[in-house]
Structures are given as C-alpha cells and as structure tokens.
C-alpha cells in the first residue's frame, strides 16, 4: 500500500499561536556528535516475527495483560473520521484500527502484550488455514460459539456471502487480493456480486458444511493466511445487508457493537454480549465502551492528549500520529516518555532512480553513495519520525535482516568522494539529474537537502516542483522525463510478496504501476515467479529478502533512506497499549482503563 499519510498531502500550515514564554531558547543540544550531526545508531532488529501461529495459539481467551482491569470508557480522538465502516471497503490504516473492535476475520494478528511478539493466528477460524493442492486450495474451519450481535450464529455461509459482496460494483475501496486470486485480474467481469442472485460456484469458493470454507485459488498463494486477516473476510449477515448503506451500521461479530454513529462527529461502541471471549485469542476487550470523537483538529488533538484534563486522561488516537509541531516538546520532555508509542511503520522511503534514463548502474550507485541520509532525517524531524534505513524491505517484514552494501551506516551524511570516483569510472563526471518533488513545505526542504549533497559529488540537479495531488500519477508515467524521485511503499502484510513483485517486476511496465524506477531485470523477473511458488513461508521470506538485496546491490534502482516511524502519545489513564506494526496503528485489543 502506498504511504497515504498526511505527510505527503498538502499539510495545511498550522497557524500556531506564538507564545513568548521563554526569552531565549536553550538550543537543541548535541545528541549526536560529529559532522553531519545525525544519529547513526544501527537499526535494531525488531522483536515481532510475524510467523504463523498454531491451532493452540488460536484458542481463546486472549492472554491477560499484566495489571489490566475491566471497565471504564476509552475516549478516542480522531482527526478525520472513518470513510468506511463496511469491512469490505476497509483498507486505510485508520479503518483497520477501528475494525478490530467490531469485526472478526478468519485470521488476525496476535500481539503479545509484554514481549510484543506478533504472530498470525486463527480468529474466526480454528487455525491460519490448511493448504492443499500445492498452495492453491485453502480450507478454513470456523470455531464453535461464534455469534453476531443479535445472537445469530456465524456460519461458513456468512463468510462466503461477505466474500461475494466484495464483487459488488459499489465495493471499490477494499483490497482486491482474494477476488483476483479466485477469478483472475478481470474478476468483476466474471462475477457481479450476490445481489444479482448468483453465488460463487462451489469449485471456486465452497462451503461443504456450516463450519468449513474452502478457497480454490487459480495459483499457489502461500501467503493466503495474511490476506485473510484483512477486514474483507469479516462476516456480513445477509439479512442485515443493505448494500452501500451497510457502511453506516455494520453488524458486529466482535466484542463491541455500535451504539450510535454520527458520521464525522462521533462513534460510540458498547459491549456486544453475544461475543464469547473463550473463542477469541486476540481481543482482551477490557473497557466497557469506546467513545470516538471525530473531526478533532490538530495540533489541538495532540495538545489535549498531552494535557490530559478531564476525560482526555483516557484519550488515545488509534491511528493518527502526533502533530509535527508538538514533536520537540514530546521528545524532549520526560513526562511523556512513559506514554509514548514510537514504532516502525510498514513504509520504506526510497529515492527511485529512473533506470530507463540512468542506464549505467555505476551512476546509480554514485547517487546511493552521495545520498545524504542523516540530513534528510534532520529535515524529517529526527529519529522519532524515521529511522535511517538501508534495506528495501521494512523491519516490519518477516525475515528482515540489516543489509548495507553502500556503507551508509558508516557515512550517513553521504560519501561524495566515493561517488566522484564512481562517476569518473562511468565516464561522466557531471551527469544532470532531473529531480521532481511534491510541492509541500517538507519536500521543498528535503529536495533542497538532497540536491545540495548530490551536487557536492558532481551531479547537476534540476529540481522541479510538482502538484502534490498528482505527484504519483506524474512520476508513474513510463515516459516521464525525470531521473530521481521519492516514493514510499509499505507492505499490506508482513511478507515481501506485497513489496518485491509490485515494485520490482519489470514485465508489463505501463503508466501507473508501482515499479517507479521501471527496473526490468530478467533475473529478478524469473526469481519472482520462482519464489511465489514456494509454499514454505519462512523459506519464501528468506528468498524475497535475498532478491531485494540483489536488487539493491546489483541494480540500485531505488535508494532506501528512511523507515517511517509511528509516534504518538496516549492519556495517563490508559494501560496495556500495544502497537500493531503490520497496519502501523495502535492495537485496540489490549488497551485498558486504569482504575
């Protein structure tokens, strides 16, 4: 998924009231030492391992959070509001974070409240799925005791119906993996959804009994259990489905049901008494209710959580990040440290090099050597906003290992001498680079920084401002006249199958694909097919990593520079706050209200 955070969008400049409380400032202090002045601490290997859990892991109830008590109300402050509550439409991280409260899926991520270890387990299903037919057929068995909020039992027919709904013409925003795996890329032409009276035939999606769902995919998909963890597999009762209007009153299968919903204003969840904790391995559901206030403007939102007066003591923002203007106060003041969440998001920031225009790998490597990682991090706002990253895969992907072929960790400020030497070898000491950037204050500054340092290595950089709303469309054109441009890409699930093929497969290059560097390397193309067919996920993860390392070192079509990080705080009255690094949001399942 593309990085859709406000970071790129035209961030309205907050008209911050200037408070003249201090006559002079004390200076930032040197937290680094040395020239270049930025943190070059090695990226630590993260604890979460994203493996597949066993059937035993998938049994409820969820592991207790130390010190947790039941009761109370959590107040969530949200900047925007939720475009979609219909599970079939949910793809953006804020929707994924709220979905967990009322929609259960076939599989889900179990996050250990103490060790933070993240594994995929069966949620509605008894395990993460049984594979047969070389990865083409996946069988899920539902647990006993599953009920909707009105007490109707959840059967395999409901799961099948909710999959069928994905094909309806109004369901356009959700992920399309399962649909295209079942029917191929033109799935909408082959099946129009359940409202025409047709069902998906049993040779594609079968429900032999009330507890069993069988998916027959066209190709092998070893990562199917991860796809099942997206809200699209949440059951929708046929009797309550009123097509697009279902979006405003989804029926709960989880621990909470919607008590009231005013779109854009408020959303209140109360306990769903028909939810059986014994069936649920991931949701602790400690609070009695969740009260979402929607449309709270920044930086007021962050300041309210910082101040924590009244009900704001129990406030949290599940998916948003702290307002950038408050970052300095939040990172420097020790009182916020105990209630700060600062973890990796699935996004990797890269500088993509147009391989159709810069054909010499030596020149591309020279760009990699000259790239000023630490200076860009400074403009980003420091290590809390993004960690220096040197791999094309994010640390939130299974099998991630540190890899630094250009020695960027040792010289994060760039190595113009090495770059100059490479350019000399390439026979062009002053190549011109056309560098478009999204015209926002942040990228204006970052583009200046990058240009400044590339010029030290001998490049001639021509910066071009591009309207931020059409940025990706413009740089995604195969015949674009640009040489280097920034993109951000994040995996949909912690397996590089949603990173390597979309960003590196050079077959079928056309406008708007996500291979922004237009890399077309036969070795990578054939490897992608080979690795996709591997059914052992651990082996697959290793192979993806090796391939991404090959691509970085050999082709250097993308220069990774930052791993985006999530940074936010929550109210002092809350405990058990854990983080879901797969979606890049707070994990609502373990939160409790301190008594």
């Amino acid at each position: 998924m593309r990085n859709s955070r406000v970071r790129l969008g035209a961030a309205a400049v907050a008209v911050a009231a200037l408070s003249l409380t201090a006559a002079c400032s004390s200076g930032g202090g040197d937290d680094t030492g040395g020239k270049g002045g930025a943190s070059s601490k090695p990226t630590k290997a993260p604890v979460p391992n994203y493996g597949l859990g066993t059937a035993a892991d998938s049994t409820g109830p969820a592991k207790a959070v130390p010190g947790a008590v039941k009761g109370g109300t959590v107040h969530d402050l949200d900047q925007a509001g939720f475009d979609y509550l219909d599970p079939a439409q949910q793809y953006v991280s804020d929707q994924l974070s709220v979905s967990l409260l009322y929609a259960r899926t076939l599989t889900a991520y179990k996050i250990d409240p103490t060790t933070k270890k993240t594994v995929l387990v069966g949620d509605l299903a008894t395990d993460t799925g049984k594979m047969s037919d070389g990865g083409k057929t996946w069988t899920y068995t539902l647990k006993s005791g599953l009920k909707f909020e009105d007490g109707t039992p959840i059967t395999s027919k409901d799961i099948k119906y909710s999959i069928e709904r994905l094909f309806a013409d109004f369901e356009t925003q959700g992920p399309q993996y399962i649909q295209s795996w079942l029917y191929g890329p033109d799935y909408r032409k082959l099946y129009k959804g359940p409202y025409s009276g047709q069902e998906i035939p049993a040779n594609i999606l079968d429900t032999p009994d009330d507890k069993t769902v069988v998916f027959h995919f066209k190709d092998a998909h070893a990562d199917a259990p991860y796809a099942m963890a997206m809200p699209v597999t949440a059951p929708v009762p046929k009797a309550k489905d009123d097509k697009a209007a279902y979006n405003n009153h989804p029926v709960s299968s989880g621990p909470y049901k919607i008590a009231s919903y005013k779109p854009g204003k408020s959303l209140v969840f109360v306990r769903n008494t028909n939810w059986d904790p014994a069936t649920d391995p991931i949701r602790n559901a400690y609070p009695d209710s969740w009260n979402f206030s929607l449309g709270i403007a920044q930086p007021g939102l962050t300041q309210r959580i910082m101040a924590g007066s009244g009900d704001d003591k129990y406030a949290i923002d599940l998916s948003g990040v702290a307002d950038p203007t408050q970052m300095a106060a939040l990172t420097s003041d020790a009182q916020y440290k105990s209630r700060t969440v600062n973890e990796y998001q699935p996004y990797v920031e890269t500088l993509d090099i147009n391989t159709k225009r810069i054909t010499d790998p030596k020149v591309r490597q020279a760009i990699a050597y000259a790239f000023p990682m630490s200076q860009v991090q400074q403009v980003f706002g420091g290590a809390a906003q993004g960690d220096l990253g040197t791999t094309l895969l994010s640390p939130t992907i299974a099998g991630w290992k540190d890899f630094d072929p250009f020695g960027k960790k040792a010289k994060p400020a760039g190595d113009p001498e090495k770059a100059k030497a490479l350019l000399k070898e390439a026979g062009n000491e002053h190549p011109t680079l056309v560098f478009p950037y999204a015209n926002t204050p942040r990228w204006q500054k970052i583009s200046l920084t990058i240009a400044n340092n590339l010029e030290k290595a001998g490049f001639k950089v021509v910066r071009k401002a591009i309207d931020p709303t059409s940025y990706y469309t413009v740089v995604g054109k195969v015949n674009n006249q640009y040489d280097i441009y920034r993109t951000g890409w994040g995996a949909d699930w912690p397996n590089a199958s949603t990173v390597v093929p979309p960003t590196m497969d050079g077959r079928n290059l056309q406008d708007g694909t996500n291979n922004y560097s237009f890399l077309n390397d036969d070795h990578i193309n054939t490897e992608i097919d080979r690795i996709k067919a591997i059914t052992d996920l651990t082996k697959q993860a290793d192979e993806w990593r090796t391939l991404s390392e090959y691509s970085l070192q050999h082709d250097t079509a993308q220069v990774p520079f930052l791993f985006d990080k999530y940074f936010n705080i929550y109210g002092t009255g809350l405990g058990g706050v854990t983080y879901n690094s797969v979606t890049g949001t707070i994990n609502a399942s373990t939160v409790f209200v301190k008594q």
Partner: protein, 343 residues
C-alpha cells in the same frame, strides 16, 4: 487587514476646505513673507516632526538593506542558499541548532535556520528584499490604477461615474484575505501545467496580481471624491473657459492637487502589502523555498517555536519595526502636507 483609507479620506476632505489657505497647493495663493512654496512648507513641517524623521531613517535603512542585499551578504561572507547547518554539523538529529539561542555564533550572527541550516542574517536580508520588491510593485500598480480610475470617474461624472463606482464597490465587497488564499493556487495552476516546473516569475507575478486586483479601489474612491469637489472650483472653471483640453485640466489643474493624497495613501498602503505578502507566503500560497522570503521565515519559525524561539525573533522584530515605522512615517507625511488634520 484594513486599509487605512478611512483616516486618509478625512484628511483629504479637510484639504478642500474652501478657505484658501496660503499653503493650499496649486492655488498659487498669496505668498508668505519668506516666499516659501507649499513644498518647502511641507518639508519644514516634516523636519520639525521628530518621530517622522526617525521613522524616515528606519524606513530608509530597510530600503537600503533590501537594495544592497547582495553587497551586505558579500561583506558578511555567507549567502542565503548554502545549507551551512547541515554541511557543518550545526544541527542535531531533529534539525534544531545545537548551540543555544538558535545557533548564534561569530560565524552566524543571527544563528542558523532549523532543519535546512541556512544563515538567518542572509535569509532575512534577502527575505526583506523579496517582500519589499513585491509590495512595492503592488503599491505602484495599485496607486497608478487607482488614480487613473478615480480621475476618470470624477472628471467624467454622470453615468460613467455611476458604473465605475459600482465596479469598485463590487471589488471592495470581496473579502480580501480569503480571496488571496483561494485564488493564488488557482492562478498558479492556470499558469503552470501539472507536472511542469514553475518558472521563477510565476509566484511573484501571481502574488502581485491578486493583491493588485483587490488593492486599487480605496485610492480610486479617494481620488474621485477629491476630483468631484475640485472640478467645480474656480481655477478649473477658468481653465475650461479659456479652452483647455480635458487632458490639460486633468494633468495640470487636478493632478497637482492630488499629490498629497496619493503620497500619503501610498506610504500607508506599502506596509499593508508587505504584511499581506508575508501572510500569504506564511500560509503556503505565496513564495516557496528556496527563495528567501519574510513570510516563509515566519512559517519555519511557527513550526519550530517550541524548540527554537530565537529563530522567530529576527524576522518578527524586523517586521514589527518596519510596519510601525512605515505607518508612523505615513502619518507624519500626512501631517506635513496637510497641517489642519487633527490627530
């Protein structure tokens, strides 16, 4: 932003009291004992106004700084585009100057900018230049248009006066600040194809245009009011009877009597346009980095005020001094040209 036209309008009306003071310009009235021209009288009165003289020096200093920016920066040894903070390691990993007080040192007298690390003094000097140039252009065009419009309107009167008057009423009805914010991006996208680089002139041109479109009416109305009363005066009648052309009456009889109003208005409009330009750049619809600009410095300052308050001080204090000095100067000029105004 309110235009100071109201105060000036009162002043303008007072000038036209038909007593025929010796100082009334253009009337070639009975000379005083020393035989001073009205201009000399005004100059004498201005020199006696101490605040006015100080403000004139301050304003002159700002204009000198803007004009001599390249020279100042050359003598100072830093420029407004190099990223000193990043290159010399003067910033910590969050992009905040390591040294206290915004990184003030013997190398960087006003410190370095957060995040990019450009030199604040060089930025400020060039920022003043950008903002003043744009504001000056807007003032000149607005005043010229306003005077022309008002003269035509007042001299022709009748239906022309009515329709032109409604046009300027219509333009006055627009909420200025909202219009600027809403229309600047529209105007820019009209001039720049998506995906192409903006030429350097696009943003200044758009800033000047949108401010000009809503900036000329107040002076136009003032001039019209003046002309309406002047055109019935005896010297104009005399000129008309003696067969002078319309152009001669406008340029030789009416315009010389309007100079004081125009001068006062222009001095009061300029600081208004300077703040408006800075405001637009601050809001992100004006000048963009890396062009140094006063408003952009406020934007950076506002984003970092909690960690680096010092950065806000230099552009802030400079702007306050400039606007106050220019407004006081405008008042003094008015007092000098029109001593009967009561304050």
């Amino acid at each position: 932003m309110t235009s100071p036209s109201q105060a000036a309008a009162d002043a303008g009306d007072l000038t036209l009291e038909p007593e025929g003071e010796p100082g009334t310009p253009g009337n070639k009235g009975t000379p005083e004992l020393a035989g001073r021209t009205p201009r000399q009288l005004a100059w004498l009165r201005f020199k006696r106004d101490r605040v006015g003289v100080i403000c004139a020096f301050v304003v002159g200093f700002f204009i000198l700084v803007a004009a001599a920016a390249p020279l100042i920066v050359k003598l100072y040894g830093k420029n407004a585009y190099d990223l000193y903070g990043q290159d010399d390691g003067l910033l910590n990993s969050s992009g905040i100057p390591i040294k206290p007080n915004g990184g003030i040192s013997s190398d960087h007298w006003f410190g370095v900018e957060p995040a990019l690390g450009r030199d604040v003094l060089a930025l400020l000097v060039y920022g003043i230049r950008t903002s003043l140039l744009i504001a000056l252009a807007v003032t000149v065009i607005s005043v010229a248009t306003g005077v022309l419009f008002g003269l035509t309107q007042g001299y022709l009167s009748g239906k022309t006066d009515y329709f032109m008057g409604r046009l300027s009423d219509f333009m006055l009805a627009f909420p200025q600040q909202l219009f600027f914010i809403a229309f600047s991006p529209v105007a820019i996208s009209l001039l720049v194809n998506p995906g192409e680089q903006e030429s350097w002139w696009v943003r200044p041109f758009v800033l000047i245009s949108v401010q000009f479109i809503l900036g000329w009416m107040s002076i136009g109305r003032l001039v019209r009011a003046q002309v309406l009363s002047l055109r019935e005066r005896e010297f104009v009648e005399a000129a008309r009877i003696s067969g002078a052309s319309s152009w001669r009456i406008i340029s030789k009889e009416l315009l010389p009597n309007l100079w004081s109003t125009i001068l006062v208005q222009a001095t009061l409009l300029l600081p208004v346009f300077v703040t408006a330009e800075a405001g637009l750049s601050f809001l992100g619809v004006g000048i963009l980095d890396p062009t140094p600009d006063w408003g952009l410095m406020f934007q950076t300052g506002a984003n970092n005020y909690q960690s680096d308050i010092t950065f806000m001080f230099f552009p802030g204090i400079a702007m306050v001094i400039f606007v106050v000095a220019f407004n006081l100067l405008g008042d003094s000029v008015r007092d000098a040209l029109d001593p009967k105004t009561l304050r």
